[in-house]
Point group: C2
Chain length 399, copies 2
Amino acid sequence: MRFEIEKKGPGLSRAGRIVTPHGAIETPAFIVVGTKAAVRGLTVEMLRDAGVQSVLANTYHLYMQPGDTKIRDMGGLHKVMNWEGPTWTDSGGFQVFSLGAGYGKNVGKVLKDLPNIPLLKERDEEEVKPRLVEIDHDGAAFKSPLDGTVHFITPERSIEMQHNIGADLIFAFDECTSPSEPRAYQREALDRTHRWGKRSLDYHLSKDNSKRQALFGIVQGGRYEDLRKESARAIGEMAFDGFGIGGSFDKEDLHTAVRWVNEILPEGKPRHLLGIGEPEDLFLGVEQGCDTFDCVAPTRLGRHGTVYTKDGKMHIGNAKFQEDLRPIEEDCPCYACKSYSRAYISHLYKSREMLGPMLCSIHNVHFIVGLVKKMRSSLLEGNFDEYKRSFLARYKTQG
Amino acid sequence: MRFEIEKKGPGLSRAGRIVTPHGAIETPAFIVVGTKAAVRGLTVEMLRDAGVQSVLANTYHLYMQPGDTKIRDMGGLHKVMNWEGPTWTDSGGFQVFSLGAGYGKNVGKVLKDLPNIPLLKERDEEEVKPRLVEIDHDGAAFKSPLDGTVHFITPERSIEMQHNIGADLIFAFDECTSPSEPRAYQREALDRTHRWGKRSLDYHLSKDNSKRQALFGIVQGGRYEDLRKESARAIGEMAFDGFGIGGSFDKEDLHTAVRWVNEILPEGKPRHLLGIGEPEDLFLGVEQGCDTFDCVAPTRLGRHGTVYTKDGKMHIGNAKFQEDLRPIEEDCPCYACKSYSRAYISHLYKSREMLGPMLCSIHNVHFIVGLVKKMRSSLLEGNFDEYKRSFLARYKTQG
């Protein structure tokens, strides 16, 4: 992997290129999420038509189904999903800690963080240790929500899985904490994330895969300035190819937390802001020096009938669209807008026709990918601030 | 509409062309069902790539949502769904009688024929008249399964709805009986279908739409030879542009019932076999002189993971496909087979990813449309019997 900065803009912003064995990503760029090696409702041709440069799959989900070794045996992620462009996988940490279930004596996550896992109810709540139990274990144990089997993921295993899956850009195993956790817990989890980052890197560099896959370390630290800065220094000093910034943010946090981190991280390596995808946040992320972003929002919202427009989000199921013969957006060149009216898509939504979610997802992916692409153009043309101002002035009026 | 017979084959078979204002359908042809003005999971580009010539939408469903006048106001079926080729609508009769609920004093369908309509349970069963009550009404009343509102469809209203929707080829309003109904009921329903056929035709010819939309009459008569022949004579004498053959058939009935009818129907007009789509039945239908067919099977089966192959149907969820790197069919040029392995599609199916149903439906549509296309080629080349024999010899081995 190679990273080139083409031009710098206001704040910490920059336009650049991440060059991978499967082609370049022109940054800033929005990476579309294809959780289980498929972007929900879109073929790879639809992705390309919508301007998508790169896809991110989730290691946790692919480990659970069909299994990381199955993906390897099927020829790796690119071949399996027939996507020839650059790909990413996350480390599985986020899903293990937010979807998976803390299990056994060494794991201190509490039940309230683990919703929607009916299997958990089968075991004695006594087994769940309070959160502040000392954690000195190797990784994270969790119980599969699919079949109740117990799984244990270490930093080494996370990287091994990501080597098996074979994406161009992969992430170190980290602990993604809830912003509601107290400082003491954030402190402890941060040390773990740093130790796990080092172990992820050591394991990665000991394998041949490190010649064709690039490893990004992950900065955590919640909403605490000192922890964020400490994390940026600790992770930034390690020989990662790039960096991810993790954690849940409030609208207010995002701006400052990202700046604290990116002022410290080495300038010459790419920075990915994990799980961020709303227009306002993307502008902030770019301004504060992030190069890439991923989020399920465009497809998740699209599946449920919410579409992005320059005037804000709107729900296609709204009665006023039933006779509206305009496309979702008048001047949008996406497949959905070129070919179909709001009235028809509204009909599809009400009729629960699969084509409805498909068209809304196509539009949303085109919208968000295109938005970040326009941020890039505005950086290259030297008018990022102006573009941001004019977009947000209009977007906020209804958003 | 114009119909030309290009070449005759064994039995009553023929290859021909139905020319409509939106292009020609080369027959025999399989027409894909797009119930609510959308083929489930396929864009129109995917339909074209899969070799689809023509799409049939359901009047009943479009009347219920978004409404036939809405489709008209949106520019008509072709414009709404962005499909430039020939289109069909059925009359709504089949759905009214099989999905809708007999309602009020003049309708004699009994509850056992009306499953899955929870709203029916709300009314007093006393209201439901026994089946042999004299029916001398104008049409069919039914209660919407969506909101409980009462609707009344007459032959004139069915044609008016189909004029509003605007398909190239439309059908007369008929009563589609269950094959389990006794002869006395079939007799009575048949008279109604003939009267409704005449009224459908008179109404159609009184409107300008008859210049651009072609009306097909529907032959019924259950599994009774005399009723089928009487129906073919009665409907065949009317000035319809073509004919549909309706009714539910057993594998054994189909062959004879279709032959009885097609030996009587005027040779120079096209014949559509309603709701038939399995390979064995398509061969029988073509052999007995049918030109077109429609069925939801390719998309319905595909959505649930069943795919057609030359060796018979198979279920992609079967454990043996999890590591099978071959495409669904080795020599199939469809989008799914060109790009993806059984293992990947199996993974998508198990993961409930939308792309799974999409790929299986694309393959099935390509398979069934292609099968009838090959029947046409074999008729033109004079080797239909040979093609039928070789296909069915292999297909049956696992089917």
